[in-house]
Amino acid sequence: MSWRTLFKFELTAIFTNPSLLFTVFGGVLIYSFLYPLPYSQQLPREQTIAVVNLDNSQMSRELERMVDATPQVNIAKHVYSIEEAKSLLIKGDVHGLMVIPTHFYRDVLLGKSPTVAYAGDASYFLVYGTIVEGLATAGGTLGAKAKVSRMVMSGDNLVLASEQYSAMKLNMRPVFNPTMGYINYVVPAVFVLILHQTLMIAAGILGGGQNEYRLQGGTGYWLRYSAWKIVLVRTLLLMLIYIPLVAYYFGYSFSSYHISRLASISDLVAMTIPFLLAVIFVGIIIGQLIPRRELATLIILLSSLPLVFVAGFIWPVSAIPAPINALAQLVPSTPAINGFLRLNQMGASFEQVINWWGQLWLQALVYGCIAVFLVKRNQEQGSVKQVLSE
């Protein structure tokens, strides 16, 4: 009954469990390639649109050329009515349309400010946003050009006019993800969730399998050692397995996808330890509560999508109903994603994320106690059964 034999028992239990190994090593490795795969182009480019040019003037054709020259938009079709453009949209040949009204050129010269209509397929927000961005850039540039040429015509200096065509300028600067790349957006948060889910499944399968065996009347080392020792050894071993995997994600994977890693190693370690602890304890709890081990995978699998959406990086926390948000705070993924994103992507100092860090430690503490309690309870039930059957 020494510590050494307990370590040996636990090690054998982990490394002879193919489902656990598949989830941990297979899952973490495969997902590190599979998950970023759809986003490898980072930005949607050259979205196809149809143009309805009702003016056919020199200026309207210039607008077309400017639109086509933007990286976001590609003019795929020229059509003669909005109806035609609509049918192209429904067939999926194009994703947006631009309508240049009749007398567009004349109205610009007369200073009547004609309206150019842009539309995009908002069934896909990213496609819509890209198209509108491209069209608005081109339209804005043409507008500024028209304004400058009018200023020059009325006697302004060309250099001054090209600087002063607007009363005020707005310089929008994206920070933390300056290219607005999709990998840089999704991967840093989802990788934390992948570590979270696979580790929780591993702890859940391990405990769940033993629980399943116990319910069938079986016995094993996990009923003979005291509960806190089992929880401690299991946690230590799983942590030792996961620390290299965390390093692989935050180190190799991030740098191979060119994702920024602004946090210092010591800050990352400080955040990782309570994160792993809390996740393992929740996994152990789940394992003790389920009658069959595959249910651990199932429960954790089903929670994935809701957990992504409540983490606050997709949908603002202020828009999430308070009860849902309160529930989300109980799961380690919420503070972990928020903490890691701030440290690694936004360059926050450790003092700024100390609340998330504290939340993780609190979770680790509470879930650790519950885990030990449940293991102990199941041990007692197991031995009662044994006594009865004897």
């Binding site: 193919p18 598949f22 182009q41 607007s166 009363a167 600067r173 920070v175």
Partner: protein
């Protein structure tokens, strides 16, 4: 055993297993409802931004009021220095920090076109994009107002003409098929089918493994294996089809989100979707004959499905390998039909290619059936009762007995 008795037997297994019951009856409701609840606000409003006003003029205060008046933005914090503001930006207390330069008013009146800089958090892309367009719009309106007034002061007496000079080309931007850019309609209508796919594939595995636990898979399959597998799947086909109808009805009937397509095409493709997912589930279990490994495969297969569906990031911009993986997921074909129907009101002809793709998952079922047949022949062929027993009990607990 008659087919109907077999189906009835399935029903008995279903109601006696609390986990199967959960997967079919209440878990879907809880999951679908909570997905809707998360996005129930629909449109992001009053996103917090911070302002550093170095000018403190009438003009700069007016501009700040314009930002605050935008429905998307709310000026929640005013900082005295940019350092202070960037601290808050890094902590995501605010999603954007606007710096109004000193002498903004003076430079504007002198026609020097001063520059307002706004730093916005693009780590949260969706939120960042909302902030960006709201800021551009607010600023554009304010600047156009100043320009128009200036033009009128310069001597163009008609306001419309002054406006025309300030804004030579106006634009009208229309989000088609989702006219108020409602996030619920956009994300929830895609996330629910993704969860639905997980539920169907996983439940199929659980349902077959329930048989496994009761008296062993081989005894179950011994006589007419094909019939048994179909009888196993069919009750669930109906239940999941009903689930599909219920979530569509909840979204487009109860919540009254716009729906332009045909319920018939939608229902038909949902039936194909359910069968495709069941085929995958049956194959996962029958090929591994181990419920834990089968569920692990289900997890690996379905968990990243949402990323591959092509709703958040367009499928046309995915590399070939991603498109290949995407084609292997039933839900990515189904969601195309759903969007075509609900948003575009497309015809049956437009839906047919995706329906054929869903029907192709029948081949997977075929493979599963062949495996079932093989299990049955091995079982029937074994004369020795001891091997018979060994085959039928096929231990599921190897890993835990160490």
């Amino acid at each position: 055993m008659a087919f109907s008795t077999q189906c009835y037997r399935e029903w008995r297994i279903l109601v006696s297993d609390s986990w199967l019951k959960a997967m079919v009856f209440w878990l879907p409701v809880v999951l679908f409802f909570s997905m809707w609840l998360i996005f129930s606000a629909g449109i992001a409003r009053d996103l917090p931004i911070g302002v550093v006003d170095l000018d403190h003029s009438r003009l700069s205060r007016g501009l700040v009021r314009y930002y605050d008046a935008s429905p998307t933005l709310a000026v929640t914090n005013v900082y005295t220095s940019a350092t202070e503001g960037s601290h808050a930006l890094k902590n995501a207390d605010i999603y954007a920090l606007v710096v109004l330069p000193a002498q903004l008013e003076k430079d504007t009146l002198l026609g020097r076109a001063p520059e307002v800089t706004a730093f916005y958090n693009s780590q949260y892309i969706l939120i960042g994009k909302l902030i960006n367009s709201a800021m551009v719009q607010a600023q554009g309106t304010y600047t156009a107002g100043i320009d128009t007034l200036k033009n009128m002061a310069d001597g163009s007496p008609v306001p419309l003409q002054a406006l025309g000079q300030a804004v030579p080309i106006q634009s009208q931007i229309t989000p088609l098929f989702n006219s108020n850019s409602h996030y619920g309609q956009f994300l929830v209508s895609a996330a629910i089918p993704a969860i639905w796919q997980i539920l169907i594939v996983a439940t199929t595995v659980l349902a077959i493994s329930a048989e496994f636990r009761q008296k062993g898979i081989s005894t179950w399959l011994a006589n007419s294996p094909i019939n048994h597998v179909i009888a196993k799947l069919l009750p669930y086909t109906m239940l999941f089809w009903l689930q599909g109808f219920i979530f569509l009805w909840a979204m487009y009937g109860v919540l009254e989100w716009p729906m332009h397509g045909s319920w018939f095409i939608l229902s038909l493709s949902q039936l194909l979707m359910v069968m495709a997912c069941q085929s995958m589930g049956a194959a996962f279990f029958l090929l591994t004959l181990n419920s834990t490994r089968a569920i692990s495969l289900v997890a690996g297969f379905t968990a990243p499905a949402f990323a591959f569906m092509g709703v958040t990031f367009p499928a046309t911009d995915m590399p070939f390998l991603a498109q290949l993986w995407r084609a292997m997921l039933p839900v990515s074909h189904y969601i195309e039909i759903q969007i075509q129907q609900v948003d575009y009101g497309a015809s049956l002809a437009d839906a047919i290619p995706n329906m054929i793709a869903l029907a192709c998952f029948g081949f997977v079922l075929l493979v599963a059936m062949m495996k079932a047949k093989k299990i049955a022949t091995i079982y029937n062929g074994s004369v020795n009762p001891e091997t018979k027993n060994a085959v039928s009990k096929h231990s599921d607990n190897k890993g835990t007995q160490a």
